[in-house]
């Protein structure tokens, strides 16, 4: 029997009594970052709204810190759980300091007047999100990135054990995304605050989360650590991707490869092929690549974008078999691009390939093909 900090036991959620997602069984430990991913409209927000009690849970149970979530008073819940929502608010005549100060609500007296201690906590929270200088600015006149940080500061000074965020990174540019997620990361690690959030950016989810919940259809598609969840096939099915690729190793997204009879053969090593592949892909030119060692960075992209890749096991001398395959490829195509291959003891055969291409009059270097290095 595992004692989770927050456990959804056979939970069903939905709107107006219509259950949309059923049989949610998830256990979350204290101090974990759990990220919900899934296509638009899959019900990520519905699940979050149910955990924050904006929506009634339609079946099953949620156990939160060993108590029934639905049985807690709103007041008690407020001292343990804070939220950052997607709804855009336009509060009238409120400064950022005012907004952050509302986080102290559960702790102030009947009239909600802040004590000195409260004020200090407000300031500390604003500093934690690097928003100390925004205090007197009007909340309606700051940028989206600043706004999101102020809302996070508001949640922090509520001193919760758990923070729930609904798509906190939407509207943010890449710098603020990274900043926000690293603040969450350090909060989880240093203060043992549990974070549950939904994200659109699967690459960021993979990098920030301890656990991933994939939401699709009427149930949880997959739940587990990112290492298990992020398989190419899994992501493809989750988002129904049929014209592009997701590379789980780096979390990068690629457009579909140009299909057809290969016209170009790319010789490269150690990353020199990557800009060439991208250029060819943008021009819709099908290509093959080789001979790449399987531990070469070029190989990671070539296997996604090239029609075929001739490979060799790492640190081995190029075999006759691989060499023969490459020769055939070179004979088939119109052009061979040499993106730059350092030749050493084990890949001496690459110079032979280059020689062959030159004799056939197909060899071009990257400058000739107009590809920037």
């Amino acid at each position: 029997m595992n004692n989770y900090y927050l456990e959804m036991k056979d939970m069903s959620v939905g709107y107006n009594g219509n259950s949309l997602i059923h049989h949610i069984c998830i256990g979350i430990e204290k101090g974990e970052i759990v990220t919900l991913i899934g296509p638009n409209g899959s019900g990520k927000s519905t699940i979050l709204k149910s955990i924050t009690r904006q929506l009634k849970i339609l079946g099953g149970q949620v156990v939160f810190d060993q108590e029934n979530l639905m049985g807690l008073t709103y007041k008690k819940l407020a001292t343990k759980m804070a939220v950052v929502l997607t709804e855009r608010m336009k509060p009238e005549l409120m400064s950022c300091h005012d907004i952050v100060a509302t986080g102290r609500y559960p702790y102030t007296g009947r009239l909600g007047i802040l004590s000195r201690e409260d004020e200090e906590k407000v300031e500390a929270a604003m500093e934690a999100v690097h928003a100390a200088d925004l205090g007197s600015r009007s909340f309606n006149n700051i940028s989206d990135g600043q706004r999101q940080r102020v809302l996070l500061a508001r949640a922090i000074c509520q001193e919760p054990d758990i923070i729930i965020l609904d798509e906190p990174t939407s509207f943010l540019d890449v710098r603020y995304k990274l900043e926000l997620l690293s603040i969450l990361r350090s909060m989880a690690k240093e203060k043992q605050i549990t974070v549950i959030m939904s994200l659109h950016e699967i690459d960021l989810a993979q990098k920030v989360a301890d656990k991933i919940i994939c939401v699709k259809g009427d149930t949880i598609f997959r739940y587990g650590v990112p290492e298990d969840v992020f398989e190419e096939q899994m992501i493809r099915e989750l988002y129904e991707i049929n014209n592009g690729y997701f590379d789980p190793r780096f979390g990068s997204i690629e457009l579909p490869k140009p299909a057809g009879e290969p016209k170009v053969f790319v010789m490269s090593a150690a990353g020199s092929g990557i800009p060439v592949y991208r250029k060819l892909q943008k021009n819709g030119m099908p290509f093959t690549a080789g001979i790449l060692y399987e531990n070469d960075v070029d190989y990671q992209l070539a296997r996604i974008l090239a029609m075929d890749v001739v490979t060799e096991k790492p640190f081995c001398e190029i075999s006759d078999e691989a060499f023969e395959k490459a020769v055939q490829q070179i004979r088939k195509v119109d052009t061979v691009i040499d993106a730059g291959v350092p030749v050493g003891d084990c890949n001496k055969k690459m110079s032979e390939l280059r020689q062959l291409a030159m004799e056939l009059g197909k060899l071009r270097d990257r400058v000739e093909t107009g590809i920037p290095g």
């Binding site: 924050t52 009690r53 904006q54 008073t73 709103y74 007041k75 008690k76 819940l77 407020a78 001292t79 759980m81 804070a82 939220v83 929502l85 709804e87 608010m89 509060p91 009238e92 005549l93 409120m94 300091h97 005012d98 907004i99 509302t102 986080g103 609500y105 559960p106 102030t108 009947r110 009239l111 909600g112 007047i113 300031e123 500093e127 100390a132 200088d133 205090g135 007197s136 309606n140 509520q158």
Partner: protein, 354 residues
Amino acid sequence: MQKTEKKTTGTSEFHAENFKRRTRYAMVFIVLAIIFCAVIVLNINTGNVNISIPRILRIIFLGEGNEMEYNIIWKIRLPRILMAAILGGALSLAGFLLQTFFENPIAGPFVLGISSGAKMMVALTMIYFIEQFHTVSSFTLIAAAFVGSLISIGFILLISRRIDHMATLLVGGIMIGYVCSAVTEFIITFAEDSDIVNLHSWSQGSFSGMTWSNVQITAVVIGISVILVFFLSKPIGAYQLGEAYAQSMGINIKFFRVALILLSSVLSATVTAFAGPISFVGIAVPFLTKQALNTAKPLVVIPATFLGGAVFCMICDLIARMAFAPTEMNISTITSVLGAPIVIFMMLRRKRVR
């Protein structure tokens, strides 16, 4: 070392800001209080019979003076001015509550049809009671107005549940207002001649004919409501961030919403029961007050709005009485002339901000 230094300047800067804020609040209250006193004196002093200030003071504090002037002050002008103050404050506060509730700065008891609903029920009750018993108590009128307010608000809530759009909500409110006014006119048309005189001037909105018993009842009902509203200022402040955030701060939303509706209904119903429907005060005064204070914090806005509404309505009443004396105008005529431009200005400004 450098970092701590930086922090202290940030804090002291913030404290300076805080001090500036509080000074501003204090200034607003002081100015409102001064105007309040000045308008009371002016209101008592002016009229068809002019009474000089020393004589007023003597009559009020010493009970001396000739009987006619004594009666004018004690039986006519003083209750009237007090009613204008209390009801004006109540109306503004009702507006503030409705704006909070609907998250819409142009909501108010008049545009949402709440005043008209109250007017309709009061007219019905008045005619029925006067025909049956030849008299009607103030409490009965307040109760009738309260029921009418709740009927209108009920309709508005039905509309707002289906359509979450600010303009639609207002159109719905205005329609309800028209229907209720039509019913009221219908009732008045078929009422006995003797009732009409009273009903007609009341249904247009007026502070005339107030008695001390009116003042007493109003002061009790409004006084209790205002105190309750004041103690709701903490959840109101949280609610300004939206319902979901308010709930996450520990507010029982259902209970809070019911409390807001009931309190704003009592406030606007009491106004309508005694003075009839009064337009625009509920929108214009909270807006002006918030701008003057440069904050929407309920803890300061609630008392300031009440005071501001009192001052606004006393000034409007003074104009209604004096502008074309001896002919008295409807109070709504004046509040509309002064209030409507403010509301239009508000809307234009919001467009620009967005």
